[in-house]
Amino acid sequence: MRNTLAIRPLTEMSRPGYRAARFPTPDVPDHAPADVLPAGALAAAPPELPELTEPDVIRHFTNLSTLNMSVDTHFYPLGSCTMKYNPKRHERLAGLPGIGDPHPYRDEADLQGMLQILHELQGMLAEISGLPAVSLQPAAGAQGELTALLTAAAYFRDRGEGEQRRKVIFPSSAHGTNPASAALAGFDTVQLKPTKTGLTDLDELASKVGEDTAVFMITNPNTLGLFEKDIEAITALLHDHGALVYIDGANMNAILGLTRPGDFGGDMMHYNVHKTFTGPHGGGGPGAGPIAVRDFLGPYLPGPVVKKVGGTPERPEFALHTPSKSIGRVRSHFGNVGILLRGYFYLRTLAAAGMRDVSERAVLNANYLRSKLKDVLEIPHPAPCMHEFVASASRSKKNRQISAMDVAKRLLDYGVHAPTVYFPLDVPEALMIEPTETESKATLDQFADIVRDILTKEDAETVKTAPHTTPVRRPDEVKAARQPVLCGVAKGCGTVPVDEVTVSA
């Protein structure tokens, strides 16, 4: 049952004198801040944080958690996001003493187990990509893109082509991060036109590629869930002009052990460990976006990377190493190790056969669902798809005024998370569906039935005014954009006298 009292804003629940956490009495009586710090630096009072008991805090956040949909509670076929099951074992292992707690500035000699894990992970990511040089540093996929583009920029500058190679090209179906990363790396951006087939048009690409091209960024399989069948010709074209090919690894879940970016002509790529390798999504992060590149780009990677420096096969020794022409750092410390570890645990569990199995099942699940839905939604591109597909609600929009967003919202009433809507931009009324390999046939059948019911049995008004059963309905985004309110103000503070306060120990 919904507890509206417990989910009031923390600032409203606050009562003077309440507190949850207690700390030891000082065993160092001297050196009080007022004695050792200049008075001018000190605040008159501590910040106005809420004052709560521990049960207040636990109830508040536990009740809030029940207002979320998540992989642990709901089917979550959000296209492009790879919402697969996150094994619980990873959480336990990531918190083991010696794994979850080392300070980043401990001596390398005392971190040999950690460095071994990270070194092994570098090797596994090199093998899966077919690209030998790996940096685990980027904090997320978008930062991986930026890091790779900075690496490419350094490479071209080193070759004396820095001034000449100004352009980064990408398809219209590219993730928004591609052009955003290219702009931040100082490049000019060039977007290709959408095509009917959903695949890159070689002729158009050829007309835009030249000696001023630095990088072509492509997602493969692309964001429409299609494998770019001309990928070899595409990469050859770029290489003929001295340019590099970047593979956006967002859709790696489709090709693990089946084909490798390095084998189809990619020079650089990023992984989304939080998608492909089950680092949980965390409500929007953290991610981890390691990159793999060809050997000639390796010297430019950010440092540090882990290098094997000796020891015995049973007890190898490792050290941190900064590549010779490194671009520097793209963040502080080694990387998002907590997420990288989960990727490592996953790879060590599934191994080679498991990797291939993941992709085969992901592709089968997507094609199965695609087939089950093909008569109720339009599917603009021919079968088969890879691990996801894009459907369009334009027919229902035209005939019954039911938009993709309406379908998405109505799905929530059935306890299913919505697919990605209105992306890619090339497909009108797009619904991008990625079931992932961890869903059963029964779940897929159920989902297909629900979509069919929504589109063929329910009255249009019910769908258009959905959702009806969620904690809130259709928030006013115009208001949120016109008069943004980004932080709360205290409304109820100070209403309870201090002597009535019970304090949790």
């Binding site: 956490a21 910040p47 536990t62 930062q143 080679a352």
Partner: protein
Amino acid sequence: MLAEVGAESVEDLLAQIPASVRLDRPLNLPEGLCESELQRHVAALAERNRPRDAANFVHGGGDRVCFLGGGVYDHFVPAAVDEIAGRGEFYTAYTPYQAEASQGSLQAFFEFQTLVCRLTGFTVANASLYDGGTAAAEAALLAIRETKREGRVVVLGSVHPEYRQTLSTLLEYLPADVVTVDCPNGVTDVAAVEAALTDDTAALIVQHPNFFGNLEDAERLFAAAKAKGVISVQVFDPVTLGLLKSPAELGADIAVGEGQGLGIPMQYGGPYLGLFACREEFLRKTPGRLIGRTEDADGRECYVLALQTREQHIRRGKATSNICSNQGLLALRATVHLALLGPQGLREVADLSVRKTHYLADRLCETPGVTKAFDAPFVREVCLRVEGGARGLLGTARAAGFDLGPALSRFPAELFPAEMRAEELVLVAATERRTKQEIDLLAAALSDDPAATPLDRGEPVLAVA
């Protein structure tokens, strides 16, 4: 399922991948492990991160005592933080694009923004960035956009060296130059900064308390920036705001920081939590995700992703930042942590950290050849000079079961002026978790008099923490 899709095998579905690029062999990966095998394997590797030397005697079999600092601190994390962050409803949810299915995350992140505003004194905070270093770089980018000044970004030499490296890397191919004002004395000379602030300077980046643990003359620095139309960025440490004036009160325009100290485990460098808050006027140029409060169709108060038009999925090449994910789960941890501590708890953590670090400094300076590197007020971290180089001292401490550092020698030498003799410098910090007894044992282990150390007794002298 194959019959439904009209395929005889999965291979039919994979025919769209040209045969010429298919991998014709199994991936060369280590053999697969079942859960119990994996646990044994990882536990064995974890043991290599828990050296068993003298630490065994000192700490009853526990790990090294951590006096490490450098922007990451061994603060206590209440169990309630792990409990909430461990709820699958939070950690297996995606970015809250569907507001109706994400009110839990949205409200938690809105509360995070509220608490970051309360800490910094601003009214705009985002729902987090990757870490302190990238947050500083994002602030510089905002300043360049806002001022339309593409000449330079001035950063003090007392800012964390890894943040400075990050800033240089991320701005390398953009028009603005990163100009460093050296800080050989541990506190920056305001006149030198004034001289560096040109008419085409977009931002001044000041860390306060700085990387060496010292207080800068932040108010004068920010006033100097303001006089030149330069945007002031303060890199802050949220724990110290239990005691110190807020960035807004000091006159900063943007506050960025590393939120690791707010309930986040150290986990060898990440994921951590980039904090970002700023003045109201920069609202629409703020990078990263923002949560806004609004009303739903029935007039109920609720939360949504606000101002998404700034972000890469809409504005693409002209977005305020390329950032797509944030550090949501860590923002949740920080929110729970601050809710548990409250104003008094945060003040106590800061107070205890100040006292213990000062006591630690006094005791370590009893060691021959060890002195305070600078004659400036420091807060919860102190920079020591070890005559002839810091390496020996760190080794002795490690052998006795104590981690000190970072030594400045672990950062590229060119990040510090030669006159500083950075190879002799080492940072140490003591949080509220450290006890007087631990500090005394460390001091004894470093002293030249073997009789003064209890290590020889060969028995645990501290209970497991």
